[in-house]
Symmetry: C2
């Protein structure tokens, strides 16, 4: 008996991203705010002022990427079970990328899915992480290796929360803004060169532009089968750098800034970008205090680290490259020689000339220690 | 600045369910078969005969619902990481509902989603659990409380795998077939009354009909916002019975059979079903050795257990009822009095007259022990 039953599951989710419009939020059910003590200390009072809710629970988790793990996730879930949350109740992720990723993942697996809202409080999560539904936790094998695609009900982006953001974290967010501009929108890039993101007005424009770009990309390709991969521009290199430095030396956005410069060197080598264009991108990153170089100690080891990435498919490294300003191309056929040549350019550079280390600048020995 | 960005994510997945067509499966990548030692012993050789694959990994997990937990899930995931599986590799769930639910959930969260195929080997998983993308694990708070909606790439239903199925497990599958017929298709129900599911020909027809019904329902409502809830007919009562008997006394399908009879009693009370219709349903279940009654010791305690269900929304118990044969209705406004009246009918019944207990039938004492 031939019984091939075709089965079609369609799901469409449509939600809104609001910029500077968080006045009042009302819920007729239970709400849990997931946050960390630092964000809570600065901003929880502001959030609570506009919140109307039947029953409110506040769950704080320790601050930092190292807590984005199964153990913290279990504690969040257990808390929700203890308070008998059900599918129609709501979680609010109130914090940076760590809080957003972990809350989103908890929301996606709690009773097979519960509502959640993102209220990102860092520039990086406002322009990038909070939009697009990537959620997850780290494990001993790497970053974000366990997770889900789970879209929030809404995203509220409030620039007032950035007023307490340390300048390194601000810069880290700028790196992702630059990423969007370079790969999708030359006009936006030129505008960024003239703008001052420290002014709230310009910052709002940049956030809106970045979010629109990301929303467009994700609506075309939620599960990263094609176009969405372009958002990993700079990240292939950045992940290796983060891994080699134990996720301690650079903020994610800082590693991305370096990764963008490395990817651009490859673009220049392949004739996709002019030296002048690469220089403009580097200059823009440096204007916001971002590192743009990194001392590679062992080129072969650096190269082998590309294969640990979950996006490295079938032993082919996928490089996302800028192709003239505002354009992009995904390449998985770049020769090892070409990559090595680019990496070689980072073997003699002095990575210690970053803003972020106050070690004495006189001794070459410190440089070696830093790279461990 | 008003910046409300509308964001639309559409995902459409379309896949096939094959009945008795598992001849050959080819993969140009890594494949992991997740199974248990019992199923492997009976049927793995048959599966391997038709399998062409680049690299094959077989992961066996202990047999039984009590292993459908975080610990087993972690072991599966760790195994995949150790063998460097990536998003384009494939998991095959080869077993009953426990294997399917756990493999599906692992597939949904491993690197935010990896391919998986269902090859169910029990009747219950063939007609119900393998179709529709519900995946998950149990925790100390209850069954399937952590999980995801994650659709497989394909489902292969092979009736030959049922030849080694114990008759209690066969009956448990029949309960779900009866569920589909009663709530969606009166003709199918009449056909079932005449058919003999122990014959392979009739069984194939019944499986195909059940799967088509389920596929239709899920394609209308994947996330169980409405219609899909009808598939929980009998389950509201069954979950309480399973919980009260520690998930040990009845197979899930057996508890569903009892739950169907309880739900029907409520339907009869509300004038939705005639006594004769309820009697025909009960007779059909009993023909396949299914239990249709259960001794309730404490009515109030039984009633309170409804509120532990993840589908019990906002303190309203949702009852899914048959409304004439082939029809259904979801009611959340049934009075406690009406429910109690129905439950009261189960306080004096002799639940020991089931096929499955070989305890002496002379002593009332044993009955009490059984209900603990």
């Amino acid at each position: 008996m031939k019984s091939d039953i075709k089965f079609d599951v369609q799901s469409s989710r449509d939600y809104s991203i609001y910029i500077d419009e968080l006045k009042e939020l009302s819920f007729s059910r239970k709400v849990a705010i997931i946050t960390n003590p630092k964000v809570a200390g600065f901003h929880l009072q502001t959030l609570l002022q506009g919140l109307k809710v039947d029953a409110l629970f506040i769950i704080t988790v320790p601050d930092g990427e190292s807590y984005k793990n199964q153990q913290t996730l279990d504690l969040i879930l257990e808390n929700l079970f203890n308070h008998q949350f059900n599918r129609n109740d709501t979680l609010i992720a109130f914090g940076g990328g760590v809080i957003g990723d972990m809350t989103g993942f908890a929301a996606s697996i709690y009773q097979r899915g519960i509502n959640f809202i993102q209220i990102p409080t860092t520039l990086l999560s406002q322009v990038d992480a909070s939009v697009g539904g990537k959620t997850g936790i780290n494990n001993k094998f790497g970053k974000n290796l366990i997770g889900a695609f789970h879209q929030p009900q809404a995203v509220y982006i409030e620039t007032q929360f950035l007023e307490t953001l340390p300048s390194r974290e601000f810069g880290a967010g700028v790196a992702e803004i630059v990423k969007m501009a370079v790969t999708f929108d030359a006009d936006f890039f030129s505008w960024l060169e003239e703008a001052d993101l420290k002014s709230r007005k310009d910052l709002q424009v940049a956030i809106r532009k970045s979010v629109e770009t990301k929303a467009y990309v994700v609506s075309q390709d939620e599960k990263e089968k094609g176009l969405r991969a372009v958002l990993n521009y700079g990240h292939t290199f950045a992940h290796v750098i983060e891994n080699l430095t134990g996720y301690k030396r650079y903020l994610h956005g800082e590693a991305v800034a370096i990764g963008i410069c490395m990817a651009n060197d490859l673009s220049v080598k392949l004739g996709l970008l002019t030296k002048s264009e690469a220089g403009r991108i580097k200059a823009l990153l440096e204007r916001y205090g971002l590192p743009t170089t990194y001392k590679i100690d062992d080129i072969e080891d650096f190269y082998q680290h590309f294969f640990l990435d979950k996006k490295t498919d079938n032993a082919k490294i996928k490089f996302i490259l800028a192709s003239t300003l505002g354009g992009n191309v995904i390449k998985d056929d770049i020769t090892k020689e070409d990559v090595i040549t680019v990496l070689d350019g980072y073997c003699t550079c002095n990575s210690i000339n970053s803003l972020y280390f106050t070690l004495p600048r006189t001794s070459q020995l410190h440089l070696t220690n830093l790279s461990i």
